[in-house]
Symmetry: C2
Subunit: 488 residues, 2 copies
């Protein structure tokens, strides 16, 4: 696989980038992409190509790529469609190693566009160039400090890599990930895939040492066998999560005009992907939930779950969602029940989900977690209703019955209890090697940003899920992948 890593090195870790269409006109894509490339601190040489200007954003510009006095690893092409084939030919002559074509207006518009795309793929192929696009919204590589894309510069450190048949869907994941340090490391808007396909990129992600989790938003694939084979190859190395768009007649129609891809029969696609080891997401939010979980949690050994809840209804909804998604809500071993009896109020549920029944003195939640996570027959724990301190604090504000001093005293106590619980949860996960996933209804409330639990988790790249159902569904995804790996 050294060949594959080598092949894509000039795309994701180029030493130099040239850009056709770089401009200082803020209304144009050629500005946004070039701006983000420069602002992102790309460490190699940057060569804007602009026939009218001597410099763009303070960087010396060239009239043509041939004039550039050094080798070019990556060319980004953001010029009107009629000029694109010639630009590609110039790249080939210059021995450029990889090209991203952002320009749209090819295969997605009809047969004539498809013919030009074919020609572009031939030029690239003959010259041994990797070609992304056309109609790509851009690529990014955080480890390569490379951000020639619309969505702005991303913080470093992400190990999730995504290929997408929609640029905006990548943007959605990047935005959500910023909130909880669940970051994309690499992103490719695949565009019309004239040469490089989603399958090629998924295979690369599978072998890329900077990628821990691969994911894809896929509307359709031209070569199903090759796609499934890439998924299979990657799934053996690391989790791969796929969201399929164009599952219905209505969605397929939209997909056709979007990327020109023919969306296949969703049921067959699902079955083949699942068999190849992919984890399937049912919605855009679930795609994020799953990649975030895979990026930050250990894999469970099996599908047996313990649930701790601070509210009965949350436990019921989580148990339903767990059951539906293939998890087992195990019976608590007698000794665990006996130990819980000693710390919980008399009215506690005496079953899984463990409903704390509002009986949470300091340290009680930690003890419950310790008991559940130690159970031989529990592979993973969901903790529901975490982090009430921010809501408690908000309720005290403006009350005539607390002095400011008293509010501060009770607030700092609530914060410290919550921080203890959150840290203990994170440590328990490390100690036990079992995943612990948390939900809190502070997520989506106005107090989210003031929650010590949310802050503590986000610092560790952990997601606090907004609902009991989302929380257990990610555990089902982790368990499904674990089962796949254990099948060998």
């Amino acid at each position: 696989m050294a060949d594959l890593i080598e092949k894509f090195r000039p795309l994701f870790y180029p030493r130099s980038v040239a850009m056709f269409g770089a401009t200082s006109d803020v209304r144009k894509w050629g500005f946004a992409l070039f701006h983000n490339l420069v602002k992102g601190g790309f460490p190699g040489n940057i060569y804007p190509l602009n026939i009218k200007k001597d410099e763009v954003l303070g960087i010396k510009a060239y009239k043509s790529i041939a004039e550039i006095p050094a080798a070019v690893d990556l060319a980004v092409i953001t010029i009107p469609p009629e000029g694109v084939p010639d630009a590609l030919t110039q790249c080939a002559r210059k021995s450029v190693k990889s090209v991203v074509v952002n320009t749209a207006g090819f295969g997605e518009t009809g047969e004539k566009g498809k013919a030009i795309e074919k020609e572009m793929a031939e030029i690239a192929g003959a010259a041994g160039m990797v070609l992304i696009g056309p109609n790509s919204q851009g690529i990014m590589s955080a480890p390569g400090k490379l951000f020639p894309q619309m969505m702005g510069v991303q913080p470093p450190g992400g190990r999730i890599s995504m290929v997408s048949q929609s640029g905006n869907i990548g943007g959605t994941l990047m935005g959500w990930g910023r909130k909880c340090n669940t970051l994309l490391g690499k992103f490719v808007s695949a565009g019309n895939e004239a040469q490089t396909s989603c399958a090629d990129l998924i295979r690369y992600f599978g072998h890329d040492p900077d990628t821990s989790v691969a994911c894809g938003y896929i509307e359709g694939v031209r070569d199903g066998a090759s796609f499934i084979s890439a998924v299979r190859e990657t799934a053996r190395n690391k989790p791969i999560v796929i969201l399929k768009g164009g599952r219905t007649a209505a969605g397929r129609g939209a997909a056709r005009s979007h990327t020109g891809a023919m969306a296949g029969e969703a049921g067959l696609f699902d079955a083949a992907c699942r068999q190849a080891g992919a984890i399937l997401a049912n919605s855009l939010e679930e795609l994020f939930d799953l990649v975030a979980a895979f990026a930050s949690l250990p894999l469970p050994r099996g599908n047996r779950v313990g649930i701790i809840t601070q509210g009965g209804g949350w436990g019921v909804l989580a148990a339903d969602a767990a059951h539906v998604s293939g998890l087992e809500i195990v019976k608590l071993p007698d000794d665990a029940t006996a130990r819980l009896d000693q710390i919980l109020p008399e009215r506690w549920s005496r079953r899984n989900p463990v409903d704390l029944a509002a009986g949470g003195g300091r340290g009680v939640l930690e003890k419950c977690l310790e008991i559940l996570i130690s159970c031989e027959n529990i592979d993973a724990v969901a903790m529901l209703g975490m982090g009430p301190a921010a809501i408690l604090k908000a309720n005290m504000q403006g009350s005539p019955f607390y002095t400011q001093e008293r509010i501060e005293d009770l607030s700092s106590r609530a914060d410290s209890i919550e921080e203890d619980i959150t840290r203990f949860t994170i440590e328990s996960m490390k100690r036990s090697g079992k995943p612990i996933v948390c939900s809190s209804d502070v997520i989506g409330s106005p107090y989210e940003s003031e929650s010590p639990a949310v802050r503590t988790m986000r610092e560790q790249g952990l997601v606090m899920y907004s609902s009991p159902e989302r929380c257990v569904r990610v555990l089902a995804g982790l368990a499904a992948y674990s089962k796949y790996l254990n099948s060998f």
Copy 2:
């Protein structure tokens, strides 16, 4: 129905409230509930009952309810279980009109508790008292300025009323609603329903002029026929949204220990509710999404949807979700296509979903919306990818290529474009009488709170949905209810 309104008036609009167990000890429920009652600005008389103290939170306390020198409309009971039947008897002697029992430890713990509950119901029944609970987390009535509950004081103005077999699930909805001014007006944690059932409350909400949308979280009902009949009666007057917990064996087990309710077969329950006109939510988040939509959007005449998207992938996912949830993605009429041709870039999708293909000059989105909303064959519009200004602004920050002046100039331009679009959207909805529902991936990103679109919508009590799928699923809920009403 004047009787029903009269019957529940002392519960939701009492002139006086007495509270057994009111205390200034912050660790106790009797503090939290009493504190919130007082802080909430209840306009009538408040009588704390406390045998040890002369006053609680500065309000004169009584040793027994008999000593109170005036009539008591509502008594709240938050004392240890052994004292509850006697407290009820005292209430009956005092001719109290309604009672909420927060104390737990009755029917949910076994047969003995059930027998005591029966006795409580008999005491209340004989005295003509409305009894809520036991094991209720509390009630609230924003129009009655009545907040004897755990979740704190709610802002005024809400017209969504909820009955719940879980107090915490009510709290979740209240928290989420605060963020977007989609507020609960009344909430009842039904507890063990010794006397007043969820069905009774749903029927009341159906006739209550202060309620526009009713909803319920239901784990199980003892009298299915009476429940369905209440749902039917309410659904003829206003939307009622139901989330069913305990759908699976695992969830039913959890529900049994939670409220002691026997959760019935979910499929039968669903079918009966649907036939009675209820809209069913599939998750806690969907429950919120739906009630928020019903509270703020007009009903569509039918299920035919137009979608406008600023990104192809979002349109595909929305089209899939629309199709699955029973909406029709209509073919655009030829004249609408012709009008769109004149304002959109040549490459636009020429079909529904209308993909703007990044061709958004100032005013273009407004024109598209105007064209779609005017189509005879379109009953509702979904707008995807609203509100990018906050993300654009964040991308400019810290760039060496913009002066501060330039950033401020472009930011205020982006904000003003976005505010125009959002205001136009809200006005179009009012003008056309057709629902328009919006999604934005700024929701869930770190820039959410800085979004002019989000701010403008929230001021109007409108929700910006976080994903394309959630956005169209609420339209499906609205269309289903519209269809139900049209069936008469």
